[in-house]
């Protein structure tokens, strides 16, 4: 910076020093400190501990023996890990894109409604989202109950007999995926409606004058403009569904648990049921890495593609 005279330079320095005086720095640090402490205590430190634990043959609590990457070598040879990985991947495939598409379609429908009807229908779709998983388990457990479940009527009409859906392996994951979509689609709808409301109605009127059909309005206006929200929903769903545990655990309980196992369930079993903290941590580290890689990749790729449009 060019300074014309000495007094000007002095003023500049004085300003600079007053801008960063110690009392302000301390106040700023005090404001930031609670976040750093909480973030460090409940995220950074446990994550480091988890990685550290995965390098040991150790129980959940207490010291263990350093084994280096042995746990990882063992994990990639573990047949159950392979089952858990593919089950989780299959579940992600069955839920992420369908729940995003369904959310968008329902949001488009709700967005066309007006006034109280819009609020009422939106509430109907959102209510399942506020239910705890135990209630969801009960509701669908009853509905699919092989003796008296109401859904056995259509199942019987199609197959000719009652069917224990949660004990029929090929039907297990698709059914739990459907229940998960039903449970969580309300949140996607909410995000999409927020995105749709950001599109000015005058843009649709202008396109109507330009001669756009309803499909052209969707494909040329709504879809490109809602794309950032779609990317967000897909990413949230991807992270959420990779962590699938509760529904599979509850519906699979009493059945062929090993055949329906997912990655978080595997962590739970090793760490909490078998007290193999080190091995459980190894699965957790791998899952953490998978989620980080997939979600960051997906978000960046989809966002970049949206930008090119």
């Amino acid at each position: 910076m060019a300074v014309s005279d000495a007094s000007g330079a002095t003023t500049g320095v004085a300003r600079k020093s007053s801008r960063y005086n110690w009392s302000e720095v301390i106040v700023a640090a005090l404001f930031v400190l609670p976040f750093i402490v909480v973030y460090g205590v409940i995220f950074v430190w446990p994550t480091i501990q988890m990685v550290w634990l995965s390098l040991h043959n150790a129980p959940l609590i207490g010291p263990g023996k350093w084994v280096g990457f042995d746990n990882y070598v063992k994990l990639f040879k573990d047949r159950l890990f392979s089952v858990a990985f593919w089950n989780t991947a299959y579940f992600v495939l069955l839920t992420v894109v369908p729940s995003t598409i369904l959310g968008l379609l329902i949001a488009l429908g709700i967005n066309r409604l007006k006034g109280w009807a819009q609020s009422a229908i939106l509430a109907c779709f959102f209510i399942p989202h506020i239910l705890p998983v135990s209630v969801v388990f009960r509701i669908w457990g009853w509905m699919f109950d092989s003796q008296f479940g109401i859904l056995q009527y259509p199942i019987e009409a199609i197959t000719g007999d009652h069917l224990p859906v949660f004990r029929t392996l090929p039907l297990f994951m698709p059914t739990v995926a459907w229940i998960t979509i039903w449970w969580g689609v309300g949140f996607n709808i909410l995000l999409f409606i927020a995105g749709l409301r950001n599109i000015s109605p005058e843009i649709y009127e202008a396109s109507e004058l330009d001669g756009a059909t309803r499909w052209q309005q969707f494909s040329r206006i709504t879809w490109p403009l809602i794309w950032p929200v779609t990317v967000l929903v897909l990413t949230i769903q991807l992270i959420l569904q990779f962590k699938i545990f509760d529904q599979v655990y509850l519906f699979g309980n009493g059945g062929r648990v090993d055949a329906t196992m997912t990655l978080v369930q595997m962590i739970f079993r090793n760490a909490f049921q078998k007290n193999m903290g080190g091995y459980g941590a190894t699965v957790a580290v791998v899952l953490f890495a998978i989620i980080v890689i997939f979600s960051v990749l997906q978000y960046q790729l989809l966002r970049a593609r949206g930008g090119e449009k």
């Binding site: 009127e205 202008a206 004058l209 330009d210 756009a212 059909t213 490109p224």
Partner: protein, 359 residues
């Protein structure tokens, strides 16, 4: 071509009637301004012509063909919105060519049309930009370009300049006037700004609460307002209204006694007054400033506020008739508190009856 004929049009939203039995003919190639305050129904009327609002009762003919039930894109109208309504994810080129691309025009035709329109509106350097990268005036030009490329029979403008600053607004006003001279297409222009209406239009339709208050050329409306609403709405600063006592009628003129005791003889426009009180309407520039107490003065008063605008001076004079606005020459030497005399020009004054209509 490009005539618009609205016949007995009524528009209701539920129980609320915003347009009542309105009939209006718009000539081919004319520039018609629909003028009125907020909520008078002018935008609704325009949207009904565009087909964006349904007509509750009545018909809309464009070029003699009943278009009441025709979808917006088939009416041959193009609209420029107040918010511009540009497609934010498309470039200027794509925005302008959107209607052509929807109609599956060849790339060559699209490129030719975009070039024609963008040259006309000086947008040729901006074709690859998105709306977010444009200034207000440039966005407005893109919106006009998007309308222009469709070669419409009728252009509809819905307060297109109200989002622009004062300097840009007057610049765009000139550009719109030029555009109309160039394309000679029928234009219908909604505004609440009487200056825009006066400068751009060859015909102004003043709307009040969903009915036409008066229609005519700008000067007709300015010089011969049909009622107090039009008289007060057209002209800035607004016309002064002075409650006066009605005296005798001599031929075509009434003698009125003004507050303060002076009298004046004001010609009617052929009407007859009922009752014994009228409102005298006189524009600020038709009140002559003189010395207080001079012979022939209509009012004596004291200057309350002085606004020096450079080309003219506006005086707010406290008189027995209330505060009257006077427009005087620009370099007038007058101070707040000065006593002045005001003389109204009887030949430029108007008489309004109790119902607000001109007499």
């Amino acid at each position: 071509m490009g005539t618009v004929d609205l016949q007995h049009v009524t528009k209701r939203y539920g129980n609320v009637e915003v347009i009542t039995d309105l009939s209006l003919k718009i000539e081919e190639g004319s520039f018609t301004a629909l003028l009125g305050p907020s909520g008078c129904g002018k935008s609704t009327l325009l949207r009904m012509i565009a087909g964006l609002e349904e007509i509750t009762i009545g018909s809309c003919f464009i070029d003699g063909v009943d278009q009441t039930e025709t979808p917006p894109s088939k009416r041959g109208t193009a609209m420029v919105f107040q918010s511009y309504a540009l497609y934010p994810h498309m470039t200027v080129r794509q925005n302008i060519a959107f209607s052509l691309s929807l109609a599956h025009a060849s790339r060559q035709v699209q490129a030719q049309q975009v070039e024609r329109v963008s040259k006309m509106l000086q947008l040729d350097q901006l074709l690859d930009r998105r709306p977010a990268q444009l200034s207000g005036g440039q966005r407005q030009r893109v919106a006009i370009g998007r309308a222009l490329v469709r070669d419409p029979k009728v252009f509809l403008f819905d307060e297109p300049l109200s989002n622009l600053d004062a300097a840009l607004r007057s610049q765009m006003r000139v550009e719109l006037a030029k555009l109309h001279q160039d394309v000679k297409t029928t234009m219908i222009y909604v505004t609440h700004d009487q200056v825009e209406a006066m400068t751009l239009a060859d015909k102004i339709v003043v709307l009040d609460k969903g009915v036409i208050s008066q229609q005519g050329s700008p000067l007709e409306l300015y010089n011969q307002p049909a009622n107090k609403f039009v008289a007060s709405f057209i002209g800035s600063p607004a016309m002064n209204f002075i409650a006066a006592e009605l005296g005798s009628k001599n031929g075509n003129a009434y003698t009125v006694t003004l507050p303060g005791g002076h009298s004046a003889s004001i010609a009617t426009r052929g009407g007859t007054a009922s009752g014994n009180s009228v409102d005298v309407g006189v524009r600020p520039e038709h009140l002559r400033l003189g010395a207080a107490g001079a012979a022939g003065t209509s009012f004596d008063g004291k200057v309350g506020i002085v606004e020096q605008l450079g080309n003219s001076t506006l005086l707010y004079v406290d008189t027995p008739a209330g505060t009257l606005i006077v427009e005087a020459e620009g370099n007038l030497k007058v101070a707040v508190g000065d006593s002045v005399g005001l003389t109204l020009d009887p030949s430029r004054s108007h008489l309004f009856g109790a119902d607000g209509k001109v007499i």
